[in-house]
């Protein structure tokens, strides 16, 4: 009988519904209940009772009270305390009975493989609307502009006059793109929201994915490569900073010094230290070799979203909800007095909207500031004087990248357009949609 049902499932879902009327199944009867009623707490990122109910395997493995079968029924009925769902209404009897019946029938996993992924290098994503641009990077040779798309990186000619290659991967969102100093590797930090985080390492010469490192249960943010190219860093929604060996994908450090999502990371000049900024308002300096906390770079003010470093000095600029970019030296005196802010080099003017992205020009002279106000402001890094504003955007901007010669600045954001402006005058010299947008008809 079971074999029959499984066979039916494999053929058509409709058949399954008709035939399976009396035999309880995991996919049809149990998983939807777990998904709706239990997964809020029993999920990989919180794992209440050390139990993960998002997968069949997690259910089998059980939690700190032992195997979940058949214990789960007792909890649902209130025979074991506390009754589940914790703090919520008891499940309707028929739902509890459905789970109990499935367990009584053997508690087997009847799930079929999820439908094959329809997106691949051969079948790249199609777009009905231009996607939000969350990351941009120029290759060190100045030939290529990498733009984030949905599940892909689009490599454009640096002048914006043509799409060259599409690097299609698994992550729906790419929150940062960086090239290695030699231009041979391209690294993204991203993932699929509320599902997984991923670091991708691409070989730019062959356009092949060299490595995919899956970390955390939500996307990664603010990836960086150490100056020698050997270590990757990224922040996570699990409040950690991860350091990964580029060559192997091995996780070197999982650093839990922050108290909220970590949104941006950057290495120091010698690669021995990492600065990470977080929604917890802190910019934390960490020893890359040991993962040990060194000190806070800043005084805590608003939530921070972005940090970038001067091209060859241990000076960083950071910004976020407070709308004010702060330029700090990375080293603070070990014995700090309360409100000691002597390492603050400069504050840049308050922006019109929350700051989302920062960029420091490769020649060290300019700092570009972007936020949810539709305008990028460019400042002289040495004096803090406003140099130019890049206008023409219609909504928030999330990504900035200077060309290697520091002459131009690429911007991208909510409206899905890439704009390239002159970094001295602010004039927009190129404006394009980086993805092919299909005319979709029903």
């Amino acid at each position: 009988m079971r074999a029959l049902i499984l066979a039916a499932c494999a053929v058509t879902v409709a058949a399954c519904v008709v035939q399976g009327a009396e035999a309880p199944g995991f996919t049809r009867d149990v998983r939807p209940i777990l998904q709706r009623q239990c997964q809020g707490c029993h999920q990989p990122s919180s794992k209440s009772g050390n139990l993960d109910l998002t997968t069949f395997e997690g259910l089998m493995k059980g939690g700190s009270r032992g195997p979940a079968l058949p214990l789960i029924v007792k909890y649902l009925k209130g025979e074991a305390q506390p009754r589940m769902p914790l703090g919520g209404a008891a499940l309707p009897n028929d739902q509890i009975e459905a789970i109990a019946a499935w367990i009584a029938a053997g508690g087997k996993n009847d799930s079929v493989a999820t439908p094959a992924d329809t997106i691949s290098a051969e079948h790249p994503p199609t777009y009905a609307q231009p996607p939000v641009i969350s990351a941009l990077a120029f290759s060190p040779d100045g030939a290529t502009l990498a733009v984030s798309g949905y599940r892909e990186i689009l490599l454009h000619k640096a002048d914006g006059r043509g799409l060259v290659t599409r690097l299609v991967g698994l992550s729906e969102r790419l929150n940062s793109i960086v090239f290695s100093a030699d231009g041979k590797l391209l690294v993204t930090a991203g993932g699929t929201p509320a599902r997984f985080g991923e670091l991708q390492v691409w070989d730019t010469a062959t356009a092949k994915l060299v490595r995919s490192v899956m970390l955390t249960n939500d996307t990664l943010f603010g990836g960086a490569i150490s100056p020698d190219g050997k270590v990757l860093s990224a922040g996570g929604a699990d409040n950690t900073v991860r350091l990964v060996e580029t060559a192997t994908g091995k996780e070197l450090q999982k650093i839990g010094n922050h108290e909220n999502w970590v949104l941006s990371t950057v290495f120091g000049v010698d690669g021995k230290r990492v600065v990470s900024v977080s929604k917890d308002r802190a910019a934390k300096l960490t020893d890359a070799a040991s993962g040990g906390f060194l000190e806070n770079v800043n005084l805590l003010r608003g939530e921070l979203t972005s940090v970038v470093r001067h091209p060859n000095k241990d000076i960083v600029v950071m910004g976020g909800d407070e709308r004010v970019p702060y330029i700090y030296m990375m080293d603070r005196p070990k014995v700090m007095k309360t409100a000691d802010d002597s390492t603050l080099v400069r504050k840049l003017p308050r922006q019109e909207g929350l700051i989302t992205s920062l960029a420091w020009s490769p020649d060290g002279k300019r700092i570009a500031v972007a936020g949810i106000a539709p305008q990028v402001n460019i400042y002289d890094a040495d004096t803090g004087q406003a140099v130019a504003s890049c206008k023409g955007h219609t909504a928030g901007i999330y990504a900035l990248a200077f060309t290697p010669d520091s002459a131009r600045l690429a911007t991208g954001g909510f409206d899905g357009h890439v704009r390239i402006c002159n970094a001295t005058t602010g004039e927009v010299v190129q404006d394009f949609i980086p993805v092919p947008v299909a005319q979709v008809t029903k």
Partner: protein, 712 residues
């Protein structure tokens, strides 16, 4: 917010649906399903990296958070159905807040369409709401267990109307009288009145609900009506089939009204005289003319205006008290009194009214104090966000604050003196969100802008004391009522808001009108209240009024406040406790501030420290430490046994048993003992030991009786 008309040039299959905007369609869903609630993303720090404004009071903030946070992570333009904004609440990916929106439901489809249409914000001048309307406007249920569906309509600024019953939040203010279900069905549970508070996208409304009861056998027995108060109370009680209690006997009335008007208990001689020749109106006039009346109301004003040497120093505390005494003694009309306080300037030595600004000092707390005190409106929530249960906005908080930002305080020439002045510059109030300068603007009324060169405090004082002001007279009438009936018609008295409706609106309106018609004459209103039969009613209930505690069908016993109690003890025992800070014959009711006798009996019995202008800072509950103090406390036993006390004097004077017991009853309970009480008392006095010790026991027992501790 700049309108976002990107993306829409591209044909989208689902876009054939009705146009959907954030303001009109999506924001109400987020509020309804709980995204913006306090324990969830509406928390001050948000939840799991996602913060929304509490209960959606700031739709623009929520829109920006949804769209722009973390590079628009909550939307998937390539595949709208995969958007986090749908997958999370539909629990298609793990969501700590659980399942909030059924996949495929109407709400799900609305959000889907909104994403597919390019997440438009909407036009606040069209998609904003003009008002909400409830149908029916009021509900009367003939008996408990009956139900009535309420319908909520939103009228948009572009003239469109929509049934938003499902999205509106409806709650009952007294859920054990009438409850309301999620789908807005009101059900009566017991006889009484409740108000349904309706909230939808920052608009508020109320639906009064009356649950009647067939009450077979009820027959209205009309009682004498002394004035309009009795008529308006009776008319409601009759409808609710509650039989009021008749006026209390003369001795009870004498003690009640003397305590309420003068803070003192009547003396044994006064009791005997009044019971022999009871003229209630004459008594009221007599009490209103006493010095103790001035003391009693000076004490109340001292509390509310935070007269304390903590804020003012020694000298100014006494001077402010004198100013208050003069104001009460001359029956200064309330509008003038408030105007003098609010516009006071110059030296605090020369003009003690200027002390008004010294307890709070800064513009924000001064504004909060002023609105709470004189309007009964609490603005404190709106410092950080729009009021969750009222129409007051954060903008109004800063507009109102700017009336007080010109007040400057600088040191005077003498020790403890300060000078109040009007600043000429550097008084701008900035909005915390975007730093813009907020111009002074009244909370209600007067649409005309204030001239730039106007004296802001002067203008404010004129506005607040104007007869057009909908809160000024009403809040004071309500406050005075609460002093005599134990509870405001709106209660707490300094928290007037739509969601805290009056229990008898016609009565409050009539009191307010009377107060205005007599040009804010406080004594007139007090006299009117205490002359009513409702005030004079007994505390007994009957079978029809047993469960009523809000409609003033009977009097409610109120514990004497700390100072009243101490003075009553003094009179009963004949021994005045010693306070080194004040002359020996000073009554507790005359103390200038809570510095006198600090941490002693008075504080134990709930004397306020005058840290706030809130009426509720004074406590009149009865706690265990208080009870223990009354039973075992040293001040009580010292007073009872004092060598110059009442009992010692009676012993020396050779009082008869009967005379002694009568005197003890009169001195404590302000009445003569019943024959039974007299017999028992005499038996006890003659029971052995020393007679004095037995008399002390009797006095002690009387002081621990509710009839002594409470005004009833």
């Amino acid at each position: 917010m700049k309108p976002l008309h990107l993306l829409l040039c591209i044909a989208i299959p689902a876009a054939a649906a009705e146009p959907v905007t954030f303001l009109r369609d999506v924001a109400p869903i987020l509020n309804k399903v709980g995204c913006t609630s306090g324990p969830c993303h509406g928390a001050a720090k948000g939840k799991n990296g996602f913060k929304l404004s509490l209960r959606g009071y700031d739709p623009e903030f929520n829109y920006q958070a949804l769209l722009y946070d973390l590079a628009g992570r909550r939307f998937n333009r390539a595949d709208p159905s995969q958007s986090l904004m749908l997958a999370k609440p539909a629990q298609q990916v793990p969501h700590g807040g659980g399942l909030r929106i059924e996949p495929g439901s109407g709400y799900y489809q609305t959000i889907f369409n909104w994403i597919a249409q390019g997440v438009p914000y909407g036009d606040p001048t069209k998609d904003g709401i003009a008002k909400i309307e409830m149908q029916p406007a009021s509900v009367e249920l003939a008996k408990p267990d009956e139900s009535q569906q309420i319908k909520v309509l939103a009228h948009f600024l572009d003239g469109a109307t929509r049934d938003v019953t499902k999205e509106a939040v409806i709650a009952s203010n007294i859920p054990d009288v009438a409850e309301v279900s999620n789908d807005a069905v009101v059900k009566g549970l017991r006889m009484g009145e409740a108000t349904m508070l309706v909230r939808y996208e920052g608009k508020f409304g109320t639906v009064p609900v009356t649950v009647l009861n067939p009450k077979p056998g009820f027959a209205w027995k009309a009682l004498p009506q002394n004035n309009y108060i009795d008529q308006l109370i009776d008319s409601k009680l009759k409808r609710l089939k509650i039989q009021p209690t008749a006026a209390a006997d003369d001795a009870t009335f004498l003690r009640r009204v003397t305590e309420d008007l003068t803070g003192q208990a009547p003396t044994p001689a006064e009791v005997r005289a009044f019971v022999a020749s009871p003229n209630r109106p004459a008594l009221i006039d007599n009490l209103l003319a006493r010095k103790t009346y001035v003391d009693h109301f000076t004490l109340k004003w001292g509390d509310l205006l935070q007269n304390s040497r903590k804020f003012l120093g020694d000298k100014a505390t006494w001077e402010f008290r004198e100013w208050l005494r003069d104001s009460v003694a001359s029956n200064k009309h309330y509008d003038l009194f408030v105007r003098e306080l609010l516009t006071a300037r110059g030296s605090t030595n020369d003009n003690p009214a200027a002390n008004y600004f010294r307890a709070t000092r800064d513009a924000k707390p001064t504004m909060e104090k002023t609105t709470q005190l004189f309007l009964g409106v609490r603005m404190v929530c709106t410092q950080c966000h729009d009021h969750p249960f009222e129409r007051w906005t954060q903008n109004q908080y800063y507009e109102m604050t700017s009336f007080f930002s010109t007040v400057g305080i600088r040191p005077g020439f003498e020790s403890g003196e300060e000078i109040l002045f009007d600043k000429r510059d550097d008084f701008d109030v900035h909005h915390p969100k975007d730093d813009r300068v907020m111009k002074p603007k009244f909370l209600v009324g007067s649409g005309t802008a204030l001239p730039d060169d106007a004296n802001r405090r002067q203008a404010f004082a004129e506005w607040i004391t104007s007869k057009e002001n909908p809160f000024f007279a009403k809040s004071m009438a309500n406050r005075l009522w609460s002093y005599f009936l134990g509870k405001g018609i709106i209660d707490p008295v300094d928290d007037i808001r739509a969601s805290n409706p009056p229990t008898n609106e016609p009565l409050l309106d009539a009191l307010t009108k009377d107060f205005k018609d007599h040009d804010y004459d406080l004594k007139h209103l007090i006299r009117t209240i205490v002359s009513s039969r409702v005030y004079q009613a007994g505390i007994q209930t009957n079978e029809w009024s047993a469960t009523d505690n809000i409609n003033f069908s009977h009097a409610i016993p109120r514990r004497l406040n700390a100072e009243q109690l101490m003075d009553a003890l003094t009179q009963a025992t004949g021994v005045r406790p010693d306070f080194p800070e004040v002359p020996a014959d000073t009554r507790a009711e005359e103390f200038p501030d809570p510095h006198v006798g600090k941490d002693g009996f008075l504080d134990l019995f709930g004397r306020p420290q005058r840290e706030t202008p809130a009426e509720g800072e004074r406590k009149t509950d009865l706690s265990l430490p208080q009870a223990l103090n009354l039973v075992n406390g040293k001040s009580i036993s010292d007073s009872i046994g004092g060598p110059n006390g009442r009992i010692a004097k009676a012993m020396i004077a050779g009082a008869t048993d009967k005379g002694l017991i009568e005197e003890l009853y009169l001195a404590t309970l302000s009445r003569v003992p019943s024959p039974g009480e007299l017999d028992k008392g005499i038996t006890y006095l003659r029971g052995g030991d020393t007679r004095a010790a037995r008399a002390q026991d009797l006095l002690w027992a009387l002081l621990n009786s509710k009839a002594f501790l409470y005004n009833r």
